[in-house]
Symmetry: C2
Subunit: 337 residues, 2 copies
């Protein structure tokens, strides 16, 4: 039973904590928070030992009646691996801390690839992180692109990928972010950074991306145009998506024609926090014209990377050498179809 | 001085009416409305003779104190050309009416190309409609694509165009339409109809489009990926866009990084109804990688087709044989830069 600490119990951290707690071969030894928020209180109610990220604020927790088990430095001592879910700019300073304590660490996609020199996706490059000290689970968008591209790559012989990513403006709880009624090229430059980020886990694939923000909080949406070198059929593509876990074919004709309906579907699946861990691909959108495959997919930005974090733990700690076996364990414990 | 009637005084019709009234070589002889709305009252206040589209409703106009000049059949008798801005499903029935009256007519992009067998864009195919009886100004999105593609085509030798069109969910006044917080593939099939629609005015250009709806009312946004056959430079592309009227280069770095800021800019230009007739292209987005040109643009769905309607009138009525001269006249009268 390996010991996992979650540094930063926010949107991603709290989900990874629950996913880790659901596994049979690992346990949560601590989660950290810098403020005594409702999430800090919820962590204590779940019996996760709560550690404080900024020791000077201990009195705030005491005044709120939220019990803390110690500081983040104390938490790190208890762990075999730390999943770092802190805001993007803290990664470098935290890495020094982890190195000093001799603990392995997993970062999120908000950090640069250069911080760890290694990035992770369960399907595309699990082996690269096997036994490593530090890795980085790529961002929700990059994970979404990698999930489907790594599924079709073996049968498609991909020549070139173009993707336009229509991104949610803010997470549901980010009340101060926008846009409210606007479309924002983000970045206004082409290509966006997402293409190069896919290359950190899929090697020399040729991917160019454009990205923008729109006024919605639920999911990202991706439009893919994949030039291919062979004569694969639409049925073969559908078959490949159906066989691959963490990718789900959905039908607009069955009432799943938008990101809002997909999130409603997640409620019917009875998921923790109504999360949608899989990458839904619209079946109707799959088409091949002139050796080019087209499809549309969505990404639940709050949760698609969560199972990859669990697999990354098994890779770093050498708990499972076969990525498919880790994926199966993670999926079963999390209820992924 | 040619006589123009506007059948349907809604979002497009009222704008075309004002644009026609601003020209020196044509005048409004009537506009039509089916209900005594605020727009009907505004038309009367502008001294446009108001005709009634559904004669049985005359009493509603009388009760509202809005004076009508007669029926649409009466209006048609006064006109050299009718600009049909009625909802999409009325085109065919109206065409019979225009034929019977021997009046020329211009339709909007909501109608199928097959209705008239002829589609119109001022830059791409003005001559095709010269002296014709009926034509159709392509939709706002198709006009947007055509404006920029026809600008670069002569210097780029276009091989293939891919475009992802992020469409506004509803016009600002459409309070019953959505989406509110969702991204909707629309259609969920690929390719969308927009590509073939561009071909109705640009001949054999190879264009594939994908389209979706998002929760905003202000403008559409397009992401273009244009494979080219030659070694044109970014500066040459910028130069071509700068020289072309009804296309405007805008800089995100100058505070024009979103559709909301563009609409704010239209207010500073002092435009009628704060309209944005030009197609704004984000200068920063223009890039060429591996013989592929990328750029992002926006489309003010309520107004970009308005100057094309004015030019279409001159084409049908053989008022001006040179499209550039018509464009210049229209631009000057409307204050287009």
């Amino acid at each position: 039973m390996k010991s996992v600490a979650i540094n930063g119990y926010g949107t991603i951290g709290k989900r990874v904590a629950d996913a880790v707690a659901a596994q049979k071969d690992m346990k949560i030894v601590g989660v950290s928070k810098t403020r005594p928020t409702f999430e800090a209180r919820a962590a204590v109610n779940k019996d996760y030992p709560l550690y404080i990220g900024i020791p000077e604020r201990e009195h705030l927790f005491r005044e709120s009646g939220i019990e803390i088990a110690g500081t983040v430095d104390d938490m790190i001592e208890e762990a075999d691996v730390v999943v770092d879910c802190t805001p993007g700019n803290l990664g470098k300073a935290n890495l020094e801390k982890y190195k000093k304590a001799g603990v392995k660490a997993i970062y999120q996609g908000g950090e640069d690839h250069e911080l760890t020199g290694l990035s992770f996706n369960s399907f595309a490059n699990y082996d690269d992180s096997f036994g490593a000290n530090y890795t980085r689970v790529v961002s929700c968008n990059t994970t979404g692109l990698t999930r489907t591209l790594s599924t079709i790559d073996p049968i498609c012989d991909i020549k070139k990928v173009r993707a336009v990513m229509v991104r949610r403006g803010a997470d549901p709880n980010e009340v101060k972010k926008g846009p409210i009624n606007s479309i924002v090229p983000n970045p206004p430059k082409v290509p966006s950074h997402h293409g190069p980020d896919v290359k950190t886990v899929m090697g020399d694939i040729d991917v160019t991306t454009m990205a923008l923000l729109v006024p919605t909080t639920l999911m990202h949406q991706h439009n893919l145009m994949v030039e291919i070198n062979n004569d694969v059929t639409i049925d073969e593509i559908i078959d490949a998506f159906e066989k691959r876990s963490r990718v789900m074919l959905v039908d607009a004709s069955e009432g799943l024609g938008s990101t809002a309906e997909l999130m409603e579907f997640a409620k019917e699946l009875g998921r923790n926090r109504n999360d949608f861990y899989e990458i839904p691909v619209w079946r109707e959108s799959i088409n091949i014209v002139d050796n080019e495959l087209f499809y549309m997919q969505a990404v639940h930005q709050e949760s698609d990377v969560v199972p990859e974090n669990v697999d990354a733990i098994r890779a770093l700690l050498e708990m499972e050498s076969d990525n498919e076996k880790s994926i199966a364990k993670t999926n079963k414990a999390m209820g992924i179809l």
